[in-house]
């Protein structure tokens, strides 16, 4: 890298860092505590945030919101006894919105991580979100994880697929392999396109998104194995807002017992998780502190 390019790169990084710090500080100062369940009942409505480009959990087709979480939300609306208002927005706005108290809950498949558990509470898992890899159909070079050694992999910028890389590297080392080059993307649709183009050898993403992908495009993509620690996705609530978490948990446990979970997972996620734990667990099946 030339000197001027390096300086420009460093400057951009510094600016980005400042911007993020500024945003966090700004939001930190301006946090309102989210409404408790009693307050929600009193005002007559709950506000939840969902995503718009996260199939099969939540997505939008010709303006209509669809997906696993939307069906669950429709069931929740029936049993809640109060109005549930929904805001649809991109992922980047959802957790700040919940943490700042603008939304009462994020009805989206938010992966439970140590980092997020510091500022958010989670409901019981609605799905597994363990990472896995996908390859081009018929690519015989890759048969299992160890074959990913030295391959070019696509991940999402700053996403869980990026954070699993150290685990993958450790896994590869045990068989004498090493991590190849990594390409980061803003959205997975772009990574899939590059996988088809041959610019990537595999894309790492959670096993649900990949199951949906291969069920839609089996001629192009083939699902590989799980990568890294087992992890779960759940709905997120502002830290300490126990009444709302309990309310959502009661609803979700009921859906799990009456078989709705199984049925909806089969229909929407194209993969069924019958062994989901009854409490939010951190990656690697660790309990919350």
């Amino acid at each position: 890298m030339s000197r001027s390019a390096w300086i420009a790169c460093a400057a951009v990084r510094t600016l980005r860092c400042w911007a993020m710090t500024g945003a966090l500080l700004g939001l930190g100062i301006l946090v309102v505590s989210a409404a408790s369940l009693d307050e929600i009942k009193k005002r007559g409505y709950m506000v939840v945030a969902t995503e718009d480009d996260y199939p099969p959990f939540e997505y939008v087709v010709n303006g209509t919101p669809m997906g696993y979480d939307h069906v669950l939300l429709a069931l929740l609306r029936k049993s809640a006894g109060f109005e549930i208002r929904q805001e649809i927005l991109p992922w980047q706005g959802i957790l700040p919105g919940v943490a700042s108290g603008k939304y009462d809950a994020a009805v989206t498949a938010a992966v439970i991580t140590d980092e997020r558990a510091k500022s958010l509470d989670f409901t019981i898992p609605i799905s597994e979100s363990t990472m896995a890899y996908v390859k081009r159909t018929g690519d015989n070079r890759i048969k299992s994880i160890k074959d990913l050694s030295g391959m070019t992999l696509g991940v999402q910028q700053g996403g869980a697929s990026f954070q699993v890389l150290p685990d993958l590297e450790a896994e590869l080392k045990t068989t004498g392999g090493k991590l190849g080059s990594i390409v980061q993307y803003g959205a997975f649709s772009e990574a899939y396109q590059d996988l088809v183009n041959g610019r990537l050898d595999a894309v790492i993403h959670n096993i649900v998104s990949l199951s949906t992908l291969i069920s839609e495009k089996p001629q192009q993509f083939e699902l590989g194995q799980r990568v890294g620690k087992k992890s779960y996705a759940a709905w997120a609530v502002q830290k300490g807002n126990k009444s709302v978490t309990d309310f959502l948990d009661a609803f979700l446990v009921q859906q799990k017992r009456n078989g709705s979970f199984h049925e909806l997972q089969e229909e929407h996620l194209k993969i069924v998780f019958d062994q989901l734990p009854d409490e939010p667990l951190l990656p690697g099946d660790r309990k919350m502190n």
Partner: protein, 216 residues
Amino acid sequence: MLKLATLGDLLHGAGITISVSALAISAGIPLGLALAAGRTGRNPLIRGICATYSSFVRAVPVVTFVMLIYFGLPALGIGFDPFPAAVLALTLNTAAFNGEIWRAAIVDFPHGQLEAARAFGMTRRVAFWRIVFPQIWRASLPALVNEMTLLIKVSPAVAIIGVVDLTRKARQISAVTYEPLPTFLSAAVIYGLVLLMLVAGARWLEKRLAVRPGFA
């Protein structure tokens, strides 16, 4: 390839992009003029406030600013729906940049003309609207149009609070079809057409201003 329904969906997003930008532009230009007037005026307090405002707003990234307005203001008891919050954020943002453009024109304005106007008995207000404004308006127009195009191009930042503009629509569609290329290419063409219309309108206005003195 792109289906007709998908194109309609994209055009709906384009409508949001155009309306958010148009509202922000039409409110941001007079607001920028007010800022510039405040910054070049005689009251040191107002000068300081206006200078701080435009430095702050120009330094904050648009996405951060949009989030600050939508997620932050409710803590002060002022809440907005996403669309008005988006318009407000873009307006406050573009006003700061417009303010600098206006200010440059005001600072450049030949002082002798103003003195002549005063000598003829014009009040400050009359002199501003009859003598100063028509000239700084003409001088600022190209730079203002440039800022308009920049505003349209940063407008996708409003998607962060759930306003589904053209870029967001394209992302939603490509998330379902797994084909980002045709969708984003179509979106790019639509952005191009919008900017082309804006620039053509500005050219026409500049030509009119060149042959006819006055406001347009």
